[in-house]
Each structure stands twice: as structure tokens, then as C-alpha cells.
């Protein structure tokens, strides 16, 4: 057993490619998701067509810039320039302030500020317009309290992630994907490789028991996956200032459980594939894609058609993302996540049993 595990570590350390996937990827992924791919609006360039040119319209413009979300690209003088501004591609939104802005406000009469967005990128357009609307509402509320009492005001508070940082969403997702990749794909490939090289025949012939072969193959990847999870957490904590509000111990324990679940899936894949290629393709299509697409990591599950929503319930990654978020952001204890934990545990047991049933002490030749 000990010799077996040592050998497995040697395989990993000797192969530059494996090493890169194991250690280069987590870092690259977290940085990528953390810095490059983000939902936040930061210095979006906008243009203003100010038809009022009075003190209130200037005040509104200052409020928009002061938010830090926007950057003024141009002052437009005429509505014909709007089209041109969008065509230049430099402007994401044009804010049109109507004439007599200050006068109308002073009279307490309704007035409308028009927002025109470049919707060729609908997500960004939505975000920018909602940010702008929020600032406009704030501005209007201020005006009203100055002049007369406002009947109802809404006040939104963003809980757990007050600054709406995208990275808080991506860290749990990235941990999930990487654990899936390292645990499931790497183990399934490394077992398939033994079959391909003919060494599996010798292992089977040896007095090693099947569970020893499996443990020997799997142990190193448990260790590496766990180290990976730690690296990501440390990066999230230090670089992106993501809080760990709940119990760290609980988080690590849940991570370990998820690793074991992913390994059991990888094991199952290896029992049904005879070549590294099959193992790779199966892991990609059966594990990776659903993890990315259906776990709610990239696309919100609530917006999917019913059949896909049902399918997403079967994705262990979906539950793990919920667990990680609950612990890290909401600071919840085990009481609140035992259902999700149970689901992952059940899946792990299911795949382990399936693999044991499939793992032959003999060659399975068709």
C-alpha cells in the first residue's frame, strides 16, 4: 500500500503536464475569474445630452461621476449625435436630461430622464441602466425631501455581499470546478492509463485487494485536491478579501466530503473506460460541462426550463456551491446545510457502490 502511494506520487511529480494542471490551474483560474471575468460595473463610459444646462442638471451629472461607476466620454449637443456616439463604440449609455429640468423639479411636477443603452451586450446594458436608475432614484428622493414629503421610498440593502463583488460568486464555483477536475478527471485517467499500458493486468494478478488498488490510486489525488482547495481559499481571503464568516473547520470538512464524492465519480468513470481518451472524454462531458452549465455557477438555475432545473438537482456541484456560500458568506452552521451535505454524501456512497460492483477482479473482454 505504502509503496503504491509512493509510486503514484512519483508519477505525478515526474509529469510536467500533470503538475501544471494540478498547481498552475487553480491559481490561473482564480485570478482569471477574480480579475478578468466579473459582473461589476467599473468606469463604464457614458455620454450626456444635457438639454437643460442648469444647476440641477449639473448636480445630477456630478452625482453620476462621483459614484465611480461611470466615466464621462462626451457631452452631446444634439440628439442627432446620439447615434454617432454609439456607432463609435466608445459609449455604453447616453443619459438625456430634459429641458427645464430645474424648473420642473422646483414645481414638483413629474419629469423624465431618458436612458439609452447599447444593448448589443444585453447583460452589460441591463447592469448599467440599473446602476444609473438607482442613482437617479436617490437623486429624486433627495429633491423630494427638500420640497415635500415623499409618500413611499424603497431602500435596498445587499446582504452578505454589500459591494456586489463578482468574485464572491466565482470563488465557490472555481473551487467546485477544480475539485471536480483534479479529483474525477485525473483519477479516471490515471487508472485508465494502467489498463492501457498492461500494468493493470499485473496489479490484478498480485495479491493486492481491489480496494487497495483503488485506495492507492486515489489517495494522492485526495491530498492534491485538498491542497488545491486550500490554495484557492487562501487566495480568495488575501487577494480578494472574501470573508470566511462561518466555521473554517466545517468548510474544510465539507470540502473533503466533496472531494471524496468527486473521486468516487472518477472511479466509476475509470471502471467503464479502457483508454485514457475515453476516460478524458467521459469526464469532460459527464462531469465538467454539467458542473459549469447546470450548477448555477455561470447561468442562474432559476431561469432554466423545468427539465433542466430538475437535472440541476442531481448536480452535486450545485449543492456544494450552496454549502460553500452558506459557510463563507452567510456564516451559517451545519444545522442549515445538513440537507445539502446529505445529498453529496448519498451521491458519494452511490458511486462508490457502483464502482465496486463494476470493478472486476478479472479482465472484462468483450
Amino acid at each position: 500500500m505504502k509503496g503504491f502511494i509512493i509510486k503514484e506520487f512519483l508519477h505525478i511529480f515526474r509529469d510536467l503536464r500533470t503538475m501544471l494542471i494540478l498547481f498552475g490551474m487553480p491559481v490561473a483560474q482564480v485570478l482569471l475569474f477574480g480579475f478578468a471575468i466579473t459582473n461589476e460595473i467599473n468606469h463604464a463610459s457614458i455620454a450626456v445630452l444635457d438639454r437643460a444646462k442648469d444647476s440641477k442638471s449639473l448636480e445630477l451629472q456630478q452625482k453620476l461621476t462621483a459614484s465611480g461607476y461611470f466615466k464621462f466620454n462626451a457631452q452631446l449637443d444634439h440628439s442627432t449625435e446620439i447615434e454617432k456616439a454609439f456607432q463609435s463604440g466608445k459609449v455604453k449609455e447616453v443619459v438625456v436630461i430634459p429641458a427645464d429640468f430645474e424648473k420642473t423639479l422646483a414645481l414638483g411636477q413629474p419629469t423624465a430622464v431618458q436612458l439609452i443603452n447599447d444593448a448589443s451586450d444585453p447583460n452589460t446594458a441591463n447592469l448599467i441602466s440599473s446602476y444609473t436608475t438607482a442613482i437617479l432614484m436617490d437623486f429624486a428622493a433627495n429633491e423630494m425631501t427638500q420640497n415635500q414629503a415623499m409618500p413611499v421610498t424603497t431602500e435596498t440593502t445587499m446582504l452578505y455581499n454589500p459591494e456586489l463583488k463578482g468574485v464572491f460568486m466565482f470563488v465557490p464555483g472555481t473551487i467546485t470546478i477544480l475539485l471536480m477536475l483534479v479529483s474525477a478527471m485525473m483519477t479516471s485517467i490515471s487508472i485508465a492509463r494502467e489498463k492501457e499500458m498492461g500494468t493493470m493486468e499485473v496489479l490484478l494478478i498480485s495479491p493486492l485487494k481491489p480496494y487497495q488498488i483503488i485506495l492507492g490510486k486515489v489517495m494522492p489525488y485526495v491530498v492534491f485536491s485538498f491542497v488545491n482547495a486550500l490554495v484557492i481559499l487562501i487566495m480568495a481571503y488575501t487577494i480578494f478579501e472574501m470573508p470566511i464568516n462561518g466555521s473554517l473547520l466545517l468548510l474544510l470538512a465539507e470540502t473533503l466530503l466533496f472531494i471524496l464524492m468527486a473521486l468516487s465519480m472518477g472511479l466509476f468513470i475509470s471502471t467503464i473506460s479502457n483508454t485514457q481518451q475515453t476516460a478524458m472524454l467521459l469526464s469532460m462531458f459527464a462531469l465538467m460541462l454539467p458542473t459549469i452549465l447546470l450548477s448555477g455557477f455561470v447561468f442562474p438555475v432559476e431561469n432554466m426550463p423545468d427539465p433542466l432545473q430538475w437535472l440541476s438537482h442531481l448536480m452535486p456541484s450545485k449543492w456544494f456551491i450552496i454549502i460553500v456560500k452558506s459557510i463563507m458568506l452567510k456564516g451559517l452552521g451545519f444545522m442549515y446545510i445538513w440537507k445539502e451535505t446529505l445529498i453529496i454524501l448519498a451521491l458519494a456512497v452511490f458511486f462508490v457502490l457502483l464502482s465496486i460492483k463494476n470493478f472486476e477482479v478479472r479482465l472484462n473482454l468483450k
Partner: protein, 307 residues
């Protein structure tokens, strides 16, 4: 059960997708014997060895090694055999020593404990023990693979085509190693497609299309060759085969090295008539000589007889 028998099989059959790989094989192999299964690809050698080592279950029939049934007592069998699969290639990314250590480890022994067994073989590659197995030459890889199969001191060693694709010199060295191992009282089963390796075995089974055509000591197989065998040469070797095949007394003619082999119908008393016949066909300096058959000649003769 005869205590002198190491391996026995009775009426073993195996088929894949309706195709017969093995058809009712029965045989016994004595302890301490170096036994060769000789035949071309597709003869069923690999299937047979995998049934014997317990990796495959036969469709019907029974086999046992050292008295243990290959199906029911597979765990015991796996403890007493050493096995080298045909496509076995060691762990290319581990060094020579790491490979050997690993295989010793999975059989719960150490290199030190059984060093005397592999000393003869391993000493050749020990100077390179820190080199990766992938960087060894073909002959050295073979020696390492054999050392790995031997390190746990098996009672029966099963080698599936260990010499395939290996040059004649390295093949010769490999067989010398196997002969030395016999002195350790290990029963060795080897399969090979090379007919000329038969003479290195104590006993051989000639296999073809899932059957054992002949099984005996190599010398006995040659003695049992119940026809005359003649070598024929002429100045026009290319045409010679066709012309001899057309000769009325020819039962079988084929090329063999620098001459043709001719198996005549019955006794070949009229060898002068063949020379005369060949001269009418334009052959000169015809040389005719009766020769001893080889295992390959026996194999061809048997194949022809069974078709």
C-alpha cells in the same frame, strides 16, 4: 492429483462474440518444466495464458495451477504466480529501481529478500538503476520486466510473448536467462510466435486456430514427422517453387531460407526423375538433398494435414 503436475487443463473453451478463441484444450504440465506455447497471432495463446493466470474465466472446462482451481481459488493462484502480459511495458516514468521496488512492494516482499533469484538477470541492468525505464534499450527493458515478474519468488512464471519484436540476439539471451531460472525449480510457461524458439523448451504445444495441434518434447515432435523432407536448389530459385509445385510426386513445397523444402507423396525413391523434370523446365545445377525437419516444418506439415 499427481503431485508432480504444476498446471493442468481439461476441455477449456472460450469464445468472444461467437468466435472460438479456444476449442476444448486439455493438457498437463510437469513441475519444473519450461513449456512453450507456439503459434501465430490469433492461435489463442494469450486467451489460454489469461485463463491459467485467473484473469479470464473459461466458457467451459477447468484448469488448475499447483492444484488450485483457476476460478474458485484465484486468490491463492495470484499469490504463487508471476506474470508478464504481452503488451506489458513497465512504468516508463519510474526508474529501474523504482519499478522493481514497486513490484516487490505489491507482493509484500523486498528486493533484498529475493535478490538471489534475480541476481543473474538484474546485475546486467543494475548499473542503470537510476535511469527511467522508458530510456532503456529493448533488451534491458525485457530483463527488468522479467526481474519484476520474479521478485516475489513465484512457483509458476507465465510469460506472454516476451520475445515478440525483439531481435535474434536479444531473444537468444532471454532464453538463456529462462533456462537458468529452471535451476530455481520454477515452472515456466512461455508463448511465442517464433517457431525457432521451440528447441529452447522442454516441451512445446503447437497451437493454431484455438487448438493444440501437437504437444510433445521438441525432439519427439521432430521424430514424429512421418514424411521425407528434401532440400532443393537450382540456379533459378524464383521459378523453382512454381515448377516443383507442378511436379506429379509433390505433396507440399515451400521456401525455407536459401532452399526449397519438398515433401513428396510417400517415399521419394525417384529423385532422378525430379532432376530430369526440372532440367526440362530450364533449371541448371539442381541440388537435391534429404534434410532433417525443423519445428517450423512440423508446424507447416501439421497445418496442411489438418486443413
Amino acid at each position: 492429483m499427481n503431485p508432480e503436475i504444476a498446471v493442468s487443463a481439461s476441455k477449456l473453451s472460450k469464445s468472444y462474440q461467437g468466435k472460438n478463441a479456444l476449442e476444448s484444450l486439455s493438457f498437463e504440465i510437469e513441475k519444473g518444466s519450461l513449456f512453450g506455447f507456439i503459434g501465430p497471432d490469433g492461435a489463442g495463446k494469450t486467451s489460454l495464458l489469461r485463463i491459467l493466470n485467473s484473469l479470464l474465466i473459461p466458457d467451459s472446462g477447468k484448469a488448475s495451477i499447483m492444484g488450485f482451481d483457476t476460478v474458485n481459488d484465484y486468490k491463492k493462484i495470484r499469490r504463487i504466480i508471476g506474470y508478464m502480459p504481452g503488451k506489458f511495458s513497465l512504468y516508463q516514468d519510474l526508474t529501474v529501481e523504482e519499478n522493481l521496488k514497486f513490484f516487490a512492494g505489491i507482493f509484500k516482499t523486498t528486493i533484498k529478500e529475493n535478490y538471489h533469484l534475480i541476481q543473474d538477470i538484474y546485475s546486467h541492468i543494475e548499473p542503470f538503476k537510476n535511469r527511467k525505464a522508458g530510456q532503456l534499450s529493448g533488451g534491458m527493458k525485457q530483463k527488468l520486466a522479467l526481474s519484476c515478474a520474479l521478485i516475489h519468488k513465484p512457483e509458476v512464471l507465465i510469460l506472454d510473448e516476451p520475445t515478440t519484436g525483439v531481435d535474434a540476439v536479444s531473444r537468444g539471451e532471454f532464453w538463456e536467462m529462462l533456462q537458468k531460472l529452471k535451476a530455481q525449480n520454477i515452472t515456466i510457461l512461455v508463448s511465442t510466435p517464433y517457431m525457432d524458439e521451440a528447441s529452447r523448451c522442454d516441451e512445446v504445444a503447437l497451437m493454431q486456430a484455438g487448438k493444440i495441434m501437437l504437444r510433445n518434447e521438441p525432439e519427439e515432435i521432430l521424430k514424429a514427422f512421418d514424411a521425407e523432407l528434401w532440400s532443393v536448389k537450382s540456379n533459378r530459385m524464383f521459378e523453382l517453387l512454381k515448377d516443383i509445385s507442378d511436379f506429379s510426386k509433390t505433396k507440399l513445397a515451400y521456401r525455407s531460407g536459401d532452399h526449397l523444402c519438398l515433401i513428396p507423396e510417400g517415399k521419394f525413391t525417384e529423385n532422378n526423375s525430379l532432376i530430369a523434370y526440372l532440367e526440362t523446365k530450364g533449371h541448371q545445377s539442381v541440388r537435391l538433398e534429404q534434410i532433417r525437419p525443423t519445428i517450423e516444418d512440423s508446424f507447416i506439415y501439421q497445418m496442411q494435414a489438418q486443413n
